[in-house]
Amino acid sequence: MSNVCEETIFNSIFKDNSKTVFNYIYYKFGNEERANDAVQEAFVKLWENCTKVSPEKAKAYLYTVANNMYLNVIKADKVRLKYADKHSNSITQESPEYVLEEKQFQKKLDDALNALPENQRTTFLLNRIDGKKYTEIAEMEGVSVKAIEKRMHLALKTLREKIDGI
C-alpha cells in the first residue's frame, strides 16, 4: 500500500500542491505571508498524520488544514494580482489608446475582484489562474460542484455589474 509517509510520495504531493495551497490562501486573504505559512502548516500537519491520511485524501486534507488556519481572520488584505504582458514579444504595435484602455480595465477588474466575497473570488481565480475544474474546487472547499457553479456565476455577474458601473 502506498503511504504518504514515504518520502517520494510526500515529495510529489508537495510539488503538485504547494503552489495551489499558496494561491488558495492568497486569493482568500491577499496576504503572501499568510499563504506561505499556510503551506508550511498544512504540510507539517500532513506529515504528522501521514499514517492516517491516504494519498487520495491528502489533497482535501491540505486545503482543510490551510483553511482552518484562518477561520478567525475577518478582514482580508487587498489581493494584488499581476497581469502577464503577453504582447511584449508581439510584432504588432498597439496604439497608446488601446494600452491605456487596457490598463484602465485591469484597474477596474482589480477593484471588482477585491470587492467580491472571499469564496467567490477564490473560486473565480482558482478556475481562471490555476485552471482548476469545478469538481476540484468543490473538493478543496468541501462543498458541492453545484455550489461552486453558483459561486462562479455570481462572481462573473458581480464583476460585470461592478465594471459596467451598474
Binding site: 503511504n3 509517509c5 515529495n11 508537495f14 510539488k15 504547494s18 503552489k19 499558496f22 494561491n23 492568497y26 486569493y27 503572501e32 499563504a35 506561505n36 503551506v39 508550511q40 504540510f43 507539517v44 506529515w47 504528522e48 501521514c50 499514517t51 494584488r80 494580482l81 499581476k82 497581469y83 502577464a84 504582458d85 503577453k86 487596457e102 480595465f105 485591469q106 477588474l109 473565480f124 481565480l125 478556475n127 481562471r128 489562474i129 490555476d130 469545478y134 453545484k146 461552486i148 457553479e149 453558483k150 462562479m152 456565476h153 462573473l156 455577474k157 464583476l159 460585470r160 465594471i163 459596467d164
Partner: protein, 303 residues
C-alpha cells in the same frame, strides 16, 4: 437560460441555442472582456523549491521534538505486540502443564501418559507437560511421591534440591524444606545433587538435610512405608517427623522445651493419630496434649 449559465458558459456547457441567445445579450461583450483580461492574471511568485527547503528544515526540528513521528516506530510497536502475543500463545500451548496436588491428610495416585504410576503423599504436588511427554519424560515434584516408572527413555524428576533420573524403576522422592530423600526400590536411580551424580541401586537411599548428605542405609522394603500407611524414619531430626505428622493428619503441632533437632528413628501409623503421637512421644521421652486439631509436645519434666 439555465441556472448558473455564466459558470456553464466558462465551462463550454451551454447548448448552441443558449450560447446564441447569450451572445445576443448586451452584457456578453463585457463578460468576454472580463474573461480576456482574467486570462492574463497571475498569482504572486511562489518558489516550490524554497518552500520545500523551508519545510524540510521545519520537519527536522519537529522530528527531534516529536519522536513518535517516525512511522517505523509505529510498526515496531505493532510488531512487538504481535511478538508478545505469539510468544505467549506458544508458551501457553507448549507448556500447558498438568498439575496434580494433594492437601494435608490426603493422598492421590495418578498415571502418567506412558502409564508410569505416581503415588502422591500428603501436601505434595507434581506437574508435567503432557504435550512434550513423548520427547521428554519430566515430572516436577514438590513434596513426596513414589514412582513406578514404565520402561523407556530417561525419566526425570525435578525438585528444587536436585534431579532424579532413571530408566525404568521404582523409587520414592521426598523434597520438603531442606529435606531431600530418594529411595530406590527397583532398578537404578541417578540422583544429581549439588552438581554431583549419585547412583542408587535398588534398596539404597539418598538423604540430604539442609544441603548435607547423610550416610545412606539399605532398605529392605519393596515400597515406601507410607504406601502401607506408615511413616518410617531412620535418624531423622524430629522436626521433619513432626512435619510429617502435620501433613498426614492435618493437625497443627507446636512444641515447648523440646529439642526438635534430636534424631528420631521409628515408624508411626498414618491412620490413628493417638497411636502415631504415642509412637513419637514415647521413644523421644516427651509428652503431648491433643486439643481438637492442635497438638502440643512438651518436655516430660514440665508439669
Amino acid at each position: 437560460m439555465q441556472e448558473n449559465y455564466l459558470a456553464k458558459w466558462l465551462n463550454n456547457e451551454l447548448s448552441e441555442e443558449e450560447l446564441a441567445e447569450f451572445k445576443q445579450s448586451a452584457e456578453y461583450a463585457s463578460y468576454q472582456k472580463i474573461l480576456d483580461a482574467s486570462q492574463k492574471l497571475e498569482a504572486p511568485e511562489f518558489d516550490v523549491d524554497q518552500a520545500w527547503a523551508t519545510f524540510k528544515a521545519e520537519k527536522m526540528a519537529q522530528e527531534v521534538k516529536v519522536v513518535q513521528l517516525n512511522p517505523f516506530r509505529q510498526f515496531l510497536r505493532v510488531a512487538a505486540v504481535i511478538a508478545v502475543l505469539l510468544t505467549g500463545a506458544y508458551f501457553y500451548l507448549n507448556s500447558a502443564e498438568e498439575n496434580f496436588s494433594t492437601q494435608f491428610a490426603e493422598r492421590t495416585q495418578l498415571a502418567l501418559p506412558d502409564n508410569s504410576e505416581v503415588f502422591l503423599n500428603a501436601a505434595s504436588k507434581v506437574s508435567f507437560n503432557e504435550k512434550k511427554w513423548e520427547e521428554n519424560r519430566e515430572v516436577k515434584l514438590d513434596g513426596e511421591a513414589f514412582f513406578k516408572v514404565a520402561k523407556g527413555k530417561k525419566f526425570t524428576v525435578i525438585t528444587e534440591s536436585g534431579e532424579v533420573a532413571v530408566l525404568g524403576t521404582e523409587f520414592n522422592v521426598e523434597n520438603r524444606n531442606g529435606f531431600f530423600e530418594v529411595t530406590c526400590y527397583e532398578g537404578l536411580v541417578s540422583v544429581a545433587f549439588q552438581g554431583k551424580e549419585h547412583q542408587l541401586p535398588a534398596g539404597d537411599s539418598f538423604v540430604a538435610i539442609d544441603g548435607a548428605i547423610l550416610t545412606t542405609e539399605a532398605v529392605a522394603a519393596i515400597q515406601p512405608s507410607w504406601m502401607e500407611n506408615e511413616s518410617s524414619f531412620k535418624s531423622i531430626p524430629l522436626k521433619y517427623v513432626l512435619a510429617e505428622v502435620e501433613r498426614q493428619f492435618d493437625v497443627t503441632i507446636s512444641t515447648e522445651n523440646v529439642d526438635t533437632e534430636q534424631l528420631f528413628t521409628g515408624t508411626f501409623n498414618n491412620t490413628d493419630l493417638h497411636l502415631a503421637l504415642e509412637s513419637i512421644s514415647t521413644p523421644s521421652q516427651i509428652r503431648y496434649k491433643l486439643e481438637a486439631d492442635k497438638v502440643l509436645f512438651y518436655a516430660a519434666d514440665t508439669p
